[in-house]
Symmetry: C2
Subunit: 426 residues, 2 copies
Amino acid sequence: MKTVKVGVLGIGNVATGTYKTLQLNREKIQKSTGVDIVISKILNRRPDVDRGIDVDPGVYVQDVNLILDDPEIDIVVELIGGIEPATEYMAKALANGKHVVTANKAALAVNGKMLQNLAMENKVMLRFEASVGGGIPVINAITTALRSNDFDEILGIVNGTTNYILTQMTDNGSDYDSVLKDAQEKGFAERDPSGDVEGHDVANKLSVLMSLVFGADIPPSDIPTQGITSVSKVDINYATQFGCKIKLIAAARKVGDTVECEVQPTLIPLTHPIASVNNEFNAIFITGNAVDDVMFYGKGAGPLPTGSAVMGDIIDIACAIDKGSAFDMQPVLRYDSELTFAGEGVNQYYVRLSVEDKPGILGKISSTFGNFGISIESMMQPKHSEIVPLLFIIHETKRSVLDDALADLVANNYVKSVDSVMKVVK
Amino acid sequence: MKTVKVGVLGIGNVATGTYKTLQLNREKIQKSTGVDIVISKILNRRPDVDRGIDVDPGVYVQDVNLILDDPEIDIVVELIGGIEPATEYMAKALANGKHVVTANKAALAVNGKMLQNLAMENKVMLRFEASVGGGIPVINAITTALRSNDFDEILGIVNGTTNYILTQMTDNGSDYDSVLKDAQEKGFAERDPSGDVEGHDVANKLSVLMSLVFGADIPPSDIPTQGITSVSKVDINYATQFGCKIKLIAAARKVGDTVECEVQPTLIPLTHPIASVNNEFNAIFITGNAVDDVMFYGKGAGPLPTGSAVMGDIIDIACAIDKGSAFDMQPVLRYDSELTFAGEGVNQYYVRLSVEDKPGILGKISSTFGNFGISIESMMQPKHSEIVPLLFIIHETKRSVLDDALADLVANNYVKSVDSVMKVVK
């Protein structure tokens, strides 16, 4: 049986999950592929720490070059995360003629094009199923079974931490702060949660998805991004009254020759399949011109689910090496479309205002909206007191136009404060 | 650019959908693959009928051998359906060294092993993404990205006709007969709907899925199968009161060294992701020992969604032909496990009985259940009249044990009639 040697960079959750997945199912993988995959070296700068896996201590190395320069290693698996030094290590591995598997959305979102070119120059594969949606095989589906489609739209819940927090706030009526603390204690959120809760992780993943789905090269820094830190229990309750849940959604769609996209808390109707995706689960909903709507659902994080995706890439490459066809495998990323970036799109919005409860105020607000070309789909005035909340779902408009209208309402003192603005998907 | 020629057998919905998908996206496919795929011949025994596609009449042939024996054709796409002559045609194509793509679950469920062996002997591919779940790329996911997993369980809604009927009965309170008639008028159900409504189509698909997921060789005739013809509005209403929907579910699970499976109407709790799969949509929910729960959702039928899946297989093979590696592609079906078939499993059940409303009857029924080792999870007695319905959700038991207990209840005249027995998934 052919042996394929793998070097792993990093020994965090995903690396231990990858190791465990191989350990669990090695015999089954050998039987179904005819290849023996061996993790021969792991970069582990703190070999004294117990990682909960049963590894021969001789496998651990502290010098990354012992992996990158090892002529016996065919596949380098980068699981350090972060842009650097991960990019540097992957680039060196590719330049050394090694196939690279990574789960690193941050490095891919910024340096994917460079790394992909380097892989093609050196006739090796760069694979990254685990970078979006953890164990969900969405990248594989888009780039293989669904590739007869021209895609129109992506709608994704691709961050387990924020989906866990929003689910707990929705189901248990808890506060953002207390749920975040609970999530940190359970290991669902990091001690510094900003990368998750401010939406940057989602923007990285959306950037990768847009290159796969549309062939568009849109860096995460260009994507209008808003996290969940300002989502309140109040809005979650009102969303329920509009028949919706609030989810942190990565959205992108093709409009003519442009791509519109945004990452933001979004009202999703309960009837939409993505609305029932709860807690640490992720889902990616895609629309193609032949397949129509498809959705992929599963665990977006966690050692074993993510390890499953990393191992899937390793097995694909190992089988291709075994058959001598690894240098012919299709590159995965494409940046080949002529679509231009159009920023945030035209959307429906939920707006929560505080107004003084006096006659005529609704007329003034409606007229102002009308002056800006904004039309109201529905309105709710939940209770009567001196200062009352006033809720609107408005029809498709540009966010910038809506913001101008809202500024005008405040300037004219028709509105005491604009408490919340969120996108609505129908 | 390399040209790969395709011969299509049949000119029904899936064939026209495949043709349209290629026509729609040919340029995009050429650009992303570097291969030009041409449908050079279509077997069409009634070329006078308008199929709504723009085909050069010279493409149509009436003799199947003009395709099977054409040395220029690399890929034969079998879209006739049914076991014969489809199997005979596929076997001849494989023997002639042609790759075969099919959407034919009936032929695969019965003859998959023979066809797969023939493909391997002749060093060609047999591919069938469209045979289960229409456009949903579930077969590809199981056999590639998820293949590092050992799988525990399958739960699927894999027939659009029956799911459409059950959804309409649930949402609109309609009768089975009137919804079936409506579905036939809309083209969602065939004039002879028995293959769908009696569950045979689902059993064929479950047989294919079990070979992919477990490596188990279980023909559809061995699968305990019950269709939806006996599902009533009454049971749908009571299911709602237990927090469940009734869906026609293909289920299989590994228990020790055995596989249990069954196809039957099943109560699914509203909180389960598969419960919100409505109308013509399909979903396949799979549990692996690394990835945990994953679900694939999309249109299980229709010309373009199914055409998307057929084209995905064609593109994969065409790219491999282009690179000279098509003979090395992994076979898809496996029948390599040592799992034995255990028939229908131990499940929870919903039971609806009619009883006379007299004191002590519930005690007698409970005691009888107890004598058979059956324990009750919940009981509901919805209304009072002379003959009343009595509803139970019972804990895990063998269906045969439950049937014995129910027969005993009737024999002892504790129960007037057993009106409904359905599996419950928690």
